[in-house]
Structure formats: structure tokens, C-alpha cells
């Protein structure tokens, strides 16, 4: 057979021939150094290849060899706690192989080939198994049970299965007919993993961020779009969620983002503990890293590697959160490749299939019944950051995301400039799930959660109208009732919605604390309004003291929370004292 050779090189693209037999999306090795590439167009015996690694120095005439398989990731124990690049290579072992700087053409497997795992079988010889059945378990991290599944598309009677220590590439079971089963299997990342069926979600995805959980809750298995211009705190939100969100596994895809931010995550996560399991946060985290200076084609692949890993843990019956930061960089990679292929551009130069691809990606999120026995429910919740150019949400990536996302947390530069963090704009953001989640909050947190939420939203809406009026006539010209609403709204913004990612007591707000603060702010407003009705004046109300008491609840440590709450309740109740005495409370 004739060896295929490079005929043309332009940026990340290579053309080679003769390659008559290759399939679309088949992986190939390009050039003498064996750079990883993927076939994206076949025309007669000529193939166009997008190369995942830096093409500088590649030479026309160098050989290209097909591998016969698409881009796959190896799924099995050892993923948790690892950091992989956009095509699934662990960065630590890349560093061991090539040093501080990444040299193209290095081949390393996702999973450590030498590590041995203690496997405990759950099925016996002679039993029939089919795709998705749990064959047995491995303790992947202390206390974390990794379920070894029959790979999709496989079934048969178990001929033999052994307990013992195995490497990921050693067979621990064999099916009748001779097919070996391993602790790991490969999966083509662009294909969604099969499931039994989708379930509709009635449980919230708790983020620990009050403005999200309280005002715009996401459902477990839902998809949230988080667009925001630079400096609005997208990455801070994504990282806060990765730390505090109620999930068994977090897959964080740093897609085209900053290396120093990744260094921060890598330094902090191993030291932080997951409050629910008591283990290191890194024990539940998989990082997929393609920093903005790494090759652009691998950036396009990185989100698929991330979601394939997320789906794999979902299939084991876990609740997985996938943070994609940011999908705009993914879309831009798509655009860059499309432009090199001279494809006819659509809106803003993005290829016309952008919406389609994006939609398919979002649809891989969901709450599902997994394939196989015993019966398992798992979820992938997708939180995708979007970086709209100039902060303008009318651009295609934001718009295409809004068509498929269940909630929008829109980040607003004006709020960020006021240091109102998280800078989630309550006027633009929404949640399509809020209604469906109401029963859960009523049952598990507080019966009037939904009522309190709608009163709060109404207050914030009223504040906006009042601010417009105040902008015309001056705030002093407003009536007392309206001035009170402005003040109450300010307290809601500063104590309920604002949250500091840097204050250890405030960074994570469990639903109970969120509810306490929201109710206190709600009571503050209604008590003060009632006092006005009873004849008090706006000036006579000691709102500052009540506001400070609420701020103290916000900053309280968990052990202190009850005491601070009681003080705040007293401060709010004190607003109701008759006006004659109220005037003398503070100088």
C-alpha cells in the first residue's frame, strides 16, 4: 500500500493523499513526530485533517497514517483527581515525558497503565449480562465506589469473572464466545453514551450561590447558560460551583481559558475539602484543560472529552456537574476551522451548523435511568459559561444556547462594577425550572420558599421602576413607602443576592441559610411597611441596624448562625415598635 503523504499545510489543517479508505472523524498520525489529527473531509483520495497539536515545523511530504478509530477517551478508574488535555492525555504524565513545555507528538494514555485496582465482582460465572450492567466495583478514591459497567454494545453469558487486583488493561472477566472485559473501555467522545430513558427532573441542582438557588434555580440534569463579558465573574462563578455545588463528581472543562487560573484550581482543590464527603475536593473532580495557547483544534475536542467522562459517571449512578468555561472559545475554534476550510460563513462568521452542534451538546445533559442492572439514576447538569464579544448577548453563541438551556444566569458588567457579586442580573436572568422545583423546596427547605421568592422578585422589579423615577425627581422627593422599598431592595441586594467567594463563611450558602436570609429580608420589608402604615415616618425607622444584623447573618460561621439569626429577627421585630419610641433608638 502506498504511504499517504502531506500535500499541503495551512494553520492547523493538513491535506494528505492517497487516503481513500479513511472515515470521517477517524484519528490519524501526522508527520514524522506522529502528531494527532482527525479527518474532517474526504474528497476522492484526498483527506483534510485537523491537527490537535502545533503544526509548526511540519513538512510537506511527511507521512500520514490512519489509526482506524475515532477520537476516544479511555474510561475507567483513575479519572477522578486527574488533569487531562483537550484530547484526554493526562498533563502530569505529559510533563513527566516532555518537561515543563508541551512538545507535540507525545502519546500517553488517559489512565495510568501500571496502577492496580482491587476489583470486587457483583455477578457470577454463568450469569447473562448486557450493556450497562454492573460487573463489580473498585474503590477509586477512599469511599468512592467506581462501578465497572459492561460496555455499550456488549452482552453475553459470563464465562468467568475474578476477584483480585487488576491493571486497567487486564481482563478480569470473559464472556462466552471469548470476549474479554476490562476495568476500562474506550468510548468515542463525539457520540452520546446510550441510556435506558430520560427522566424529568424535580430536584434542584444546588449551587450554594443564593442568587442562583433562590431566584433562578437549575434542575438536576438541567443546562444553564452563564453569559458575561470579561470581568463579570464568569470564572469565579464556575469555580465556586465546582467547589460548592451538590454533586458527586465535577468535570471542569477549561476551554481556551487562562493557564494561571488552572494553576489556581490545581493548587486549591487538593487542599479544600468537600463538605458532604469530607474528602479532598480533588477526589471528586476531573479537570479537562485546554488553555488558550494550546492548539485550537484540541479546544474543539475538549468539551466532548469532558462530557463523555461526565456521562460515564452518570451511567454509574452519580450526579455529575459539568462546568464548561467557556463555550464561546469552543465555538470560535469551530469558526476558525470552518474558515480554514473556506466554508460559507453564517452569522458573525460562525458556521451555519453552530446552533445544531451546540444544541446536540446541551442535550447530552439530563437526568436519566442508566442502562443495565441494578437500576440506577444519574444526572449530568451542564453549566456553560459564554463570553459574548463586547458583552452583547445578541451574538450567535448566547442566542443558540438560550434556545436549549433551562436557565439563564446573565452576568452584568454594571453589577460587577458595583462589586455586586455574583453579578447575576435579576432583570434578565430566568429559570424555566423554578415552577417544577417548587414542591421540592417547599418540602425540604420551607413551605413559603416560592412565595418569598416571588415577593423578592417583585420588590426588585419595583425597585427598578422607582430608581427611574428617583433619577428624574431625586430620591428625597419620593414618598416614604417608596423610599422604604428602595432601602429594602438595597438590603436584599447586599445581603441576600451578594455573596463573597473569598469569605469562607459566605462562599457557600446551603439552602437553609439562603432561606433564612431571604425570609429575614422579606420580613424586614413587611414589618417596616406595616410600621409606616401605623404612622411611623421613614426617618424614624432604624433600617440601618436591621440591615447590619442581616449582614451579620450573611457573614456568620455555621456555628454562629442561630445566634446571629435570632439577633436579626429581633432587629427586624424592633422595626414594629411605635413611632414615638422608634425615634430614640439611635442618635
Amino acid at each position: 500500500m502506498t504511504v499517504a503523504r502531506i500535500e499541503r499545510l495551512s494553520g492547523a489543517l493538513a491535506e494528505a493523499r492517497p487516503l481513500r479508505e479513511v472515515a470521517l472523524y477517524e484519528l490519524v498520525r501526522v508527520g514524522a513526530r506522529g502528531l494527532l489529527g482527525e479527518v474532517i473531509r474526504v474528497d476522492g483520495d484526498r483527506a483534510v485533517i485537523q491537527v490537535y497539536e502545533d503544526t509548526m515545523g511540519l513538512c510537506v511530504g511527511e507521512a500520514v497514517s490512519p489509526t482506524g478509530a475515532p477520537l476516544e477517551v479511555m474510561l475507567g478508574p483513575g479519572l477522578l483527581g486527574s488533569v487531562v488535555d483537550g484530547v484526554g492525555r493526562p498533563l502530569q504524565r505529559l510533563a513527566d515525558a516532555t518537561g515543563d513545555f508541551i512538545r507535540p507528538g507525545t502519546a500517553v494514555d488517559t489512565l495510568d497503565p501500571d496502577r492496580k485496582w482491587a476489583f470486587t465482582p457483583l455477578v457470577a460465572s454463568g450469569q447473562r449480562v448486557s450493556a450497562g450492567d454492573v460487573l463489580g466495583t473498585v474503590e477509586e478514591r477512599p469511599g468512592f465506589v467506581h462501578r465497572i459497567l459492561v460496555p455499550p454494545g456488549t452482552d453475553g453469558a459470563v464465562e468467568r469473572i475474578r476477584r483480585g487486583e487488576f491493571r486497567v488493561t487486564e481482563a478480569m472477566a470473559r464472556l462466552a464466545g471469548g470476549r474479554d472485559l476490562f476495568l476500562s473501555h474506550r468510548w468515542s467522545v463525539r457520540n452520546p453514551r446510550p441510556i435506558a430513558r430520560r427522566l424529568s427532573s424535580r430536584r434542584p441542582f444546588l449551587t450554594g450561590q443564593r442568587v442562583c438557588d433562590f431566584l433562578f434555580p437549575a434542575a438536576e440534569g438541567g443546562a444553564v447558560a452563564v453569559p458575561g463579558g470579561f470581568g463579570t465573574g464568569k470564572t469565579v462563578i464556575e469555580q465556586s460551583l465546582a467547589r460548592h455545588a451538590a454533586a458527586d463528581v465535577v468535570v471542569y472543562v477549561g476551554c481556551g481559558e487562562r493557564g494561571n487560573e488552572m494553576a489556581e484550581v490545581l493548587e486549591e482543590f487538593p487542599r479544600l475539602t468537600d463538605p458532604r464527603s469530607g474528602r479532598s475536593l480533588m477526589d471528586r473532580t476531573v479537570l479537562v484543560v485546554n488553555t488558550s495557547n494550546m492548539p485550537v483544534v484540541a479546544r474543539e475536542a475538549s468539551v466532548y472529552v469532558g462530557i463523555a467522562i461526565a456521562e460515564y459517571y452518570r451511567d454509574q449512578g452519580y450526579r455529575v456537574a459539568l462546568m464548561a468555561d467557556s463555550l464561546s472559545r469552543w465555538a470560535e475554534a469551530l469558526r476558525e476551522i470552518a474558515a480554514r476550510l473556506q466554508e460559507m460563513p453564517g452569522e458573525e462568521g460562525y458556521p451555519t451548523y453552530l446552533g445544531n452542534r451546540l444544541g446536540k451538546f446541551y442535550e447530552r445533559a439530563g437526568l436519566v435511568r442508566a442502562l443495565g442492572e441494578p437500576s440506577r439514576e444519574g444526572a449530568v447538569t451542564l453549566i456553560s459559561a459564554i463570553s459574548p464579544p463586547g458583552g452583547d448577548f445578541s451574538e450567535p453563541v448566547t442566542q443558540a444556547s438560550l434556545r436549549v438551556a433551562g436557565a439563564l444566569w446573565a452576568l452584568d458588567p454594571a453589577l460587577a462594577h458595583q462589586r455586586q457579586f455574583p453579578a447575576v442580573d435579576w432583570e434578565v436572568s430566568y429559570s424555566l425550572e423554578a415552577g417544577a422545583l417548587t414542591p421540592w423546596f417547599a418540602e425540604h427547605v420551607g413551605p413559603d420558599w416560592a412565595a418569598c421568592r416571588s415577593r423578592t422578585l417583585e420588590l426588585l422589579q419595583r425597585e427598578r421602576e422607582l430608581r427611574e423615577i428617583a433619577g428624574l425627581v431625586g430620591p428625597e422627593a419620593l414618598q416614604d413607602g417608596d423610599r422604604l422599598l428602595l432601602e429594602a431592595a438595597r438590603i436584599v441586594r447586599e445581603t441576600v443576592l451578594a455573596q463573597s467567594a473569598y469569605d469562607p463563611n459566605d462562599a457557600n450558602s446551603p439552602p437553609d441559610k439562603t432561606y433564612r436570609l431571604a425570609r429575614l429580608a422579606d420580613a424586614l420589608r413587611s414589618t417596616a411597611l406595616a410600621a409606616l402604615d401605623a404612622g411611623a415616618t421613614f426617618e424614624s425607622l432604624n433600617l440601618a441596624a436591621a440591615g447590619a444584623a442581616l449582614a451579620a447573618v450573611r457573614r456568620a460561621a455555621a456555628t454562629d448562625l442561630d445566634a446571629r439569626t435570632a439577633e436579626a429577627e429581633a432587629a427586624v421585630a424592633a422595626l414594629a415598635v411605635p413611632p414615638g419610641q422608634a425615634g430614640q433608638v439611635t442618635p
Partner: protein, 458 residues
């Protein structure tokens, strides 16, 4: 390595591009020399390699270049730069040739200018405070070693002056001076002179190396200049163990050169005609800032971006802001009112500030102090806007206080002029401004910080 291949005559030429054929073994990125009798040698780089035809991007002006008579050699070598400590004190062109009348530097090593990306697991998290001597930076938008913090300037605003001031005033935690790599991209001779003269005066010259591509120099050279400079900076930082500040002025000129090439190649343009890969390309420059684990140096970048028409949503500042770790935004309004440096702290941001401040670094309560100044200033700015509509007299008392505060904040804390302020002076200044306000206005200062501060001053 490939051997040189020589062509008598190129196939075609268009703008800065030269087409050579046939090229059955051209390498992507390889260096090209172009000789035309009676003209100085030109250099170029293969930017599109094909068995049939390859595209060479010519660095120098192509005026008078007749493709048929050109003697083109594909050298088989990648673009490299001579690097080393002995380059400190030198002035070089955008591609590293002498511009100071001295012989070419021998250097300590030759390095490719296209760097391989730093493996994220080998990055050290930046956290060492750099005292720049500028209050609006040290106090409000703290710079740390290994950060990339651009200055968003506008035509006629003193972005370059601020960069020079930072370079002169920068002190690391243990007082180490920085080596400076300055790369001028498409800047004017006047700007060059300003920079040189200030460096001469402040004694920064002997710890600096300057790469200058001025407005009159070849456009395409602008694409190489930052990479040549960064190869030198990386050598100083990661091999010679020095702390290096890289000033890149002006990123806007770089982007325009990139657009010029993209247009010449008939690529599909993105926003405002800039190529769709502008983000990736800029990231290849900015992401070279950082600290490598187990190596002692650091590379900090201060790129200067001139926002066309002061528009922060223009693709260049927009994409830069998405890559860099914050931005220092200059304000025309402050500049008009004679405030120097005219840093508008509201849209400015240092993303790595959190790691660089606090008890062991700057001082305890820094975060709360900065948050309070920021919040009150923001309120004062809002009140200023309101006052233009309803008049100062009808503002609530607290808004009037914030308004007065904003005036003083701009004049006294931000508008420090050319004088250098150490961090203690910056803190004292901030507290003085806050002292004019009643305690209940200071909602961002918790009791503990308040008490500690008063213990200290009493």
C-alpha cells in the same frame, strides 16, 4: 532538519506575500531569505506550505520586489532569536538586530520564537505582590508576579507614560529589581525617545532590553517582534532565574498587522475585518506570562492596548480582556480634568489581586479597605450623574458625602502624579479619605478590620 532549497524566481507576489513553486518539501513556519540584485536582503516565513505552491510572508517592504528576478531560499530553519543576559542594556530591532550601533549580540543561546505552551500542571500560581508605587494599582488593582495586566489606553491618553512609571517604580517583595523587556510595535519615534530618555534618567536602562519596531519599520516585522522579545524574556525568567517585566506597546498595531496579512491571504474576515483566530493568536503571546514550578524567575506582562475611539467593546480590547488577568482602564474624563495617572478604577480589575494581598503580603484588611473605597467611589460616581439631573441640593445626605468622597478620591488617591507611593502611604491615604465619612457609611469594613485599624493609629 531540512537542507536549504534555492529557487531562481518566485511564481507570484501580492502585497506582503510571495508565492513559490513547486515546493514538494516546504515546512510550515520555515525561514526564507529573498535576494534581489541591487536591493538589501529580505527575510520571510512560510505561512502556507503546499507540494505545488507555498506562501511566504515577507517581513520587509516588498516595494520594488520583482518575483521573477528574486533568488528565494527556503532555509529549513525555524525562526529563532539570540537570547542572553548580555542583551540587557541593548536596543534592537523588532527581529533582534542591533539598533544602537553596536555589533550584533552573541548571546548565550538561540531559541525558537514560537514557544511550546507551558504545561498547566507545571505552572506555579502567581501570588507575589509587585509594588508599582501607583496607588490605584497597588491598593485597588494589585499586580502580582507572573500576571498579565494590560493598560487600556486611548489615542492621546498617557498609557505609555504609565507603563514607564510602573517599570521604573516596580519593586518585588524582597526588593529585587526587575529586568525589563520592552517591545515597541509600530510606535512613533517620539514615543521611543520618551521611553529611552526616561529609562536613561531612572537608571533602568542597564537592566532593560528594548526591541523597537517603529511606525516606519516593516509592518510584518510587527508580528515577530513580540515573539522575539518573549523568547528573550523567557530565557531571562526561566533559565537565568530573573524576574522580568515585559511591556508590549502597542497591541493594537500588532493586530492591525495581523489583519493586513489575513486580508492579503484572502481569508474570511471576522469582526471588523480582524481574522477569526485573533483570540488564539493573542493568547499565544499573553499566555507566555507566568511562573514555572521549581524555577526561580517570573515573567510579568504589561501590554498596552489603544482602544480605537475609546471603545472597550472593540475586538482588540475585548479579546485582550478575555485573555489577560484583568485590565487597567484609562479615562479620558479624568485625563481632561488633569488627573494623572487617569486610571478609572471602576472598570479596572486585577483578577489575581486576591492571591497577592492580605496579612503576609500587603497587610491585613486590604480586601475590605479596597472594597469600601471602591463601593463609596461607585456610589459617588452614581450621585454625580444624578446631581447633573436633579442638582446636588436634592441628593440625600449619604449621596452628597459619597459625591465629595469621589472628588477627593480622584484628586488625591488616584491623581498622585509622578511621585512614587509605597503601599503604606497608599493605605494611609485611603483611610484618610474614609475617615471623612461616618462609620455607618462604611458597610464593607467589618468590626474587626475597623478595630485593628484604630488600634494601629492610636
Amino acid at each position: 532538519m531540512l537542507l536549504p532549497r534555492r529557487y531562481r524566481g518566485a511564481h507570484a507576489a501580492a502585497g506582503p506575500l510571495l508565492y513559490v513553486r513547486p515546493t514538494p518539501n516546504a515546512a510550515l513556519g520555515e525561514w526564507v531569505t529573498i535576494r534581489v540584485p541591487g536591493q538589501p536582503d529580505r527575510r520571510g516565513q512560510v505561512i502556507d506550505a503546499g507540494a505545488d505552491v507555498s506562501v511566504v510572508q515577507v517581513l520587509e517592504d516588498t516595494l520594488g520586489l520583482a518575483p521573477a528576478t528574486a533568488d528565494v531560499t527556503l532555509t529549513g530553519e525555524a525562526a529563532t532569536a539570540v537570547v542572553g543576559r548580555e542583551l540587557l542594556g541593548r536596543v534592537l530591532t523588532g527581529v533582534g538586530q542591533p539598533a544602537d550601533g553596536l555589533p550584533p549580540p552573541v548571546g548565550e543561546a538561540v531559541r525558537p520564537i514560537w514557544a511550546a505552551p507551558l504545561n498547566a500542571v507545571r505552572r506555579e500560581r502567581p501570588r507575589d505582590f509587585i509594588e508599582t508605587g501607583v496607588s490605584a494599582i497597588d491598593g485597588m488593582n494589585t499586580l502580582v508576579r507572573g500576571q498579565k495586566l494590560p493598560v487600556f489606553s486611548g489615542p492621546g491618553l498617557p498609557g505609555l507614560e504609565l507603563a514607564a512609571q510602573i517599570v521604573e517604580g516596580a519593586r518585588a517583595p524582597r526588593g529585587e529589581a526587575f529586568a525589563v523587556v520592552f517591545v515597541g510595535i509600530g510606535i512613533t519615534a517620539r514615543e521611543t525617545d520618551m521611553f529611552l530618555e526616561r529609562f536613561e534618567r531612572s537608571g533602568a536602562r542597564e537592566r532593560s532590553v528594548l526591541y523597537l519596531n517603529e511606525t516606519r519599520d516593516p509592518t510584518i516585522e510587527r508580528l515577530l517582534a513580540p515573539r522575539v522579545a518573549l523568547a528573550q524574556a523567557e530565557f531571562l525568567a526561566f533559565e537565568a532565574g530573573m524576574h522580568v517585566l515585559v511591556v508590549i506597546a502597542d497591541v493594537t498595531h500588532y493586530c492591525e498587522a495581523l489583519r493586513e496579512i489575513a486580508t492579503a491571504r484572502e481569508e474570511i474576515p471576522g469582526r471588523r475585518g480582524y481574522p477569526g483566530y485573533l483570540y488564539t493568536d493573542l493568547a499565544g503571546i499573553f499566555e507566555r506570562a507566568g511562573i514555572v514550578r521549581d524555577r526561580s524567575g517570573s515573567l510579568t506582562q504589561i501590554p498596552i492596548v489603544t482602544m480605537p475611539d475609546d471603545d472597550i467593546t472593540h475586538p482588540i480590547p475585548d479579546l485582550t480582556g478575555y485573555i489577560t488577568e484583568g485590565q487597567l482602564v484609562l479615562s479620558r474624563d479624568l485625563h481632561r480634568r488633569g488627573v494623572y495617572p487617569p486610571i478609572d478604577v471602576l472598570p479596572s480589575l486585577s483578577r489575581l489581586m486576591g492571591a497577592g494581598i492580605g496579612a503576609d503580603r500587603t497587610r491585613a484588611g486590604h480586601r475590605e479597605w479596597a472594597d469600601q473605597l471602591y463601593a463609596t467611589y461607585a456610589r459617588g460616581r452614581e450621585a454625580r450623574l444624578m446631581a447633573t439631573i436633579v442638582g446636588v441640593a436634592s441628593l440625600p445626605e449619604a449621596d452628597r458625602r459619597a459625591l465629595d468622597f469621589a472628588e477627593r478620591f480622584e484628586r488625591e488617591l488616584v491623581g498622585q502624579g509622578e511621585t512614587r507611593r509605597d503601599i503604606d502611604e497608599t493605605f494611609a491615604m485611603g483611610w484618610r479619605l474614609l475617615d471623612a465619612l461616618p462609620r455607618e457609611d462604611l458597610t464593607r469594613i467589618p468590626e474587626a478590620v475597623w478595630a485593628a485599624r484604630h488600634q494601629e493609629t492610636s
